[in-house]
């Protein structure tokens, strides 16, 4: 009985909106990423007051662009894809954590409430230079 209540509670919590995992469904030709907008011009775009969209490419063995700077309190929606193998896209100390699969676009949103340097790293093994694959997100106070 306790178990049933527990399952219902977890089930309901999982359904509540802010817990929906990144499940973006959008395909892209992995052999033509460099020619396909918006990934032909990767980078940060401002879409409103403290609102951004960041198009970052994950490829062996780097993120492009590797560093972005935003003001504190910004809401950023990240879009990423890979032209080669599977990568990870993880910003430490946040819940931005997604797999980057060639042929698909992944997306996640985060509000950066604290200033500082966030580490963006690849947490999906991608080859011999996997541990060199990182970037930073500078959040200015």
């Amino acid at each position: 009985m306790a178990l049933v209540v527990f399952l219902i509670a977890i089930g309901a919590a999982a359904l509540s909106e802010n817990m929906i995992p990144p499940s973006h469904i959008q395909t892209i030709d992995p052999t033509k990423v460099a020619q396909t907008p918006p990934f032909d011009r990767p980078g940060l775009r401002q879409t409103g007051q403290r609102q951004y969209e960041a198009y970052l490419l994950a490829h062996i063995f780097a993120f492009t662009p590797p560093h972005i700077t935003i003001p504190v309190g910004s809401k950023v929606t990240f879009y990423t894809t890979s032209p080669d193998v599977v990568h990870g896209f993880f910003i430490t100390n946040t819940a931005v954590n997604m797999m980057v699969v060639p042929g698909w676009v992944s997306s996640a949103t985060h509000v950066f409430r604290r200033a500082g340097t966030y580490l963006l790293l690849c947490n999906g093994y991608c080859g011999s230079g996997h541990h060199y694959m990182y970037g930073t997100i500078e959040v200015k106070g």
Binding site: S23, I25, G88, T92, W104, Y125
Partner: protein
């Protein structure tokens, strides 16, 4: 020993010693990994970290566990159904598994398959890696046929008698394994092998991932079922206990049979291309498969308690103290159970969406599976080897004190290593990464103390595995002693009668297949419907 028993023992020993060799080699790599991550060792480019990590994953997660479980299930089935049988099928399985393993291992160690044990496309390994692993899996299917053939022989020749409990458990384990490995077999035969041979130019990456995890999660339950075979049927012998209930034991195995497969997508929470609803469905199913484990905890403690009561011991701590803490065949599984309690909590965390986003692909996950498979499962197997090997070789156990110390060393080493890994993971340290200093970025500096603690725990674990190897191989040379017998625990006299439908393995297997199909037909259909671009293969190492 009768001649046919001696012949059967040789087959089982062959499996146990391949498992031991895999564990030893895997341990060398495990040690180097933990030292490399602590920056106390730096792997040369001629034998790099990821080659070694692929070998560690394959040797530990697939080879060690599978050979041990096959040896165990074969032994339990053969002893429960004694007859003068042909071992042709058993040896064919052993040789297929061994040849497959050798092909895969040679490909990995020569640097042609640094794709890790999950071999995610479009990383493209040499075809011998995919072919070798497939042959290993096909070998295990012969084991299923062997177990079922023995069960059928039993039903035919002894109508009206219940299928022995250990045969029921072994059959459930291998039917579940068969249903699960169909996924990886399809992935290999229809996707990866033709693509690695150059017959198809590109591969559907998301489909291969879904097929992999269709297999990858039940793989975990395969290990657990192997450990449960021992927890239910063998360890009561060590404390003078009995099996609490015949019916509950059968129910636990049947639940694992039907619930292990429709859960795999919980490994794919953070992937694009799979609708959130499917992720939710698989998460709910994952909580369902916790039920047989909670049942097992209850049944095992009840068995401890009833044994203690017969000796006039009462109360929780007195019951615990009354157990044989100096018998390594008991302390291995029992210390493993203690680790499993922590592993279980961690597992519930992993399966929740919001937590998974924080710990996915971090060291937390590595900490989690070392405290589940590397703890309860491996320590149960290692401890049980101290009981099995002397009985199979007809010799005395070599250095019993060393064996006892080995189980405690493992427990301490694993507790240290796993705790440090969990902690580093919460701080964001990624898994499957050689050097986690990121050129001195500040956020990464906080992980280093934990990486060093993990390396200390890992060194203790390595030492423990050396001790095990010394005992396992030492026992080949000790004095003969054929008085030790292999038996399984009896059921408590008051155990409730077992309903006959619990033995209808065919019916339960059908239920398992239906549930697996229901869980996967939707997400797979969506993947096939979507306009998917294939990805060409790549060798990035």
């Amino acid at each position: 020993m009768e001649a046919h028993v001696r012949r059967e023992n040789r087959l089982v020993l062959a499996h146990l010693y391949v498992a031991t060799l895999a564990l030893m080699l895997g341990a060398v790599f495990g040690l180097l990994q933990s030292l490399s991550r602590a920056r106390w060792v730096s792997m040369p480019s001629s034998f790099d970290y990821y080659r070694m990590l692929t070998a560690h994953g394959v040797l530990m997660a697939i080879v060690f566990t599978t050979f041990f479980i096959v040896g165990l299930a074969t032994l339990l089935t053969y002893r429960a159904i004694p007859r003068d049988r042909s071992l042709a099928l058993g040896w064919s399985a052993f040789w297929l598994m061994t040849l497959g393993t050798l092909a895969a291992a040679a490909t990995i160690l020569s640097g042609n398959a640094s794709v890790l044990y999950t071999f995610y496309a479009p990383l493209k390994a040499h075809p011998a890696f995919y072919l070798g692993t497939t042959v290993l899996v096909v070998g295990t299917w012969l084991v299923l046929i062997d177990i079922l053939a023995n069960a059928v022989w039993f039903w035919r020749t002894q109508p009206g008698r219940r299928l022995p409990l250990v045969v029921h458990g072994s059959a459930c384990t291998f039917v579940m394994w068969f249903i699960a490995t169909i996924g990886v077999a399809i992935e290999m035969l229809f996707f990866l092998i033709p693509w690695s041979l150059g017959w198809t130019p590109t591969v559907n990456v998301m489909m291969t991932r879904m097929l992999f995890w269709y297999f990858g999660h039940p793989l975990v339950y395969f290990w657990i079922m192997g450990a449960y075979l021992i927890w239910y049927n063998i360890i009561p012998l060590h404390y003078g206990g009995k099996i609490f209930s015949d019916a509950l034991t059968r129910v636990a195995f049947l639940l694992l049979l039907i619930l292990s497969t429709p859960v795999g997508i919980h490994h794919q929470f953070l992937e694009p291309g799979i609708a959130a609803g499917w992720k939710w469905l698989h998460t709910m199913n994952t909580y369902g498969v916790v039920v047989p484990s909670i049942m097992t905890a209850f049944v095992i403690f009840a068995s401890f308690e009833m044994a203690a009561q017969r000796k006039g011991v009462k109360g929780f701590w007195a019951t615990i103290r009354s157990l044989p803490w100096t018998n390594p065949a008991f302390t291995g599984p029992a210390l493993g159970m203690i680790l499993f309690i922590f592993g279980g909590f961690g597992g519930i965390v992993n399966a929740s969406y919001s937590m998974d986003a924080i710990v996915h692909n971090t060291m937390w996950i590595v900490g989690h599976f070392h405290i589940t498979v590397g703890g309860p499962v491996a320590l149960t197997f290692v401890g049980t080897a101290y009981w099995l090997i002397p009985r199979l070789t007809g010799r005395r156990l070599f250095a019993p004190k060393l064996a006892l110390a080995q189980t405690y060393t493992w427990f301490v080493g694993m507790a240290i290593m796993s705790t440090a890994m969990h902690w580093a993971g919460l701080l964001g340290s990624p898994r499957r990464t050689d050097d986690v200093t990121y050129f001195g970025v500040q956020a990464a500096a906080a992980w280093m103390p934990h990486m060093r603690a993990a390396a200390i725990g890992g060194s203790l674990l390595f030492l423990s595995i050396l001790m095990f190897a010394a005992v396992a191989f030492g026992t080949l040379f000790t004095a003969r002693d054929e008085t030790q017998v292999i038996e399984v625990a009896q059921v408590e006299e008051h155990a409730a009668l077992t309903p006959a439908y619990l033995d209808r393995i065919g019916t339960w297997a059908t239920v398992a297949v239906v549930l697996a199909v229901l869980a996967y037909v939707g997400p797979m259909h969506e993947l096939l419907e979507a306009h998917v671009y294939g990805a060409p293969g790549m060798r990035t190492w």
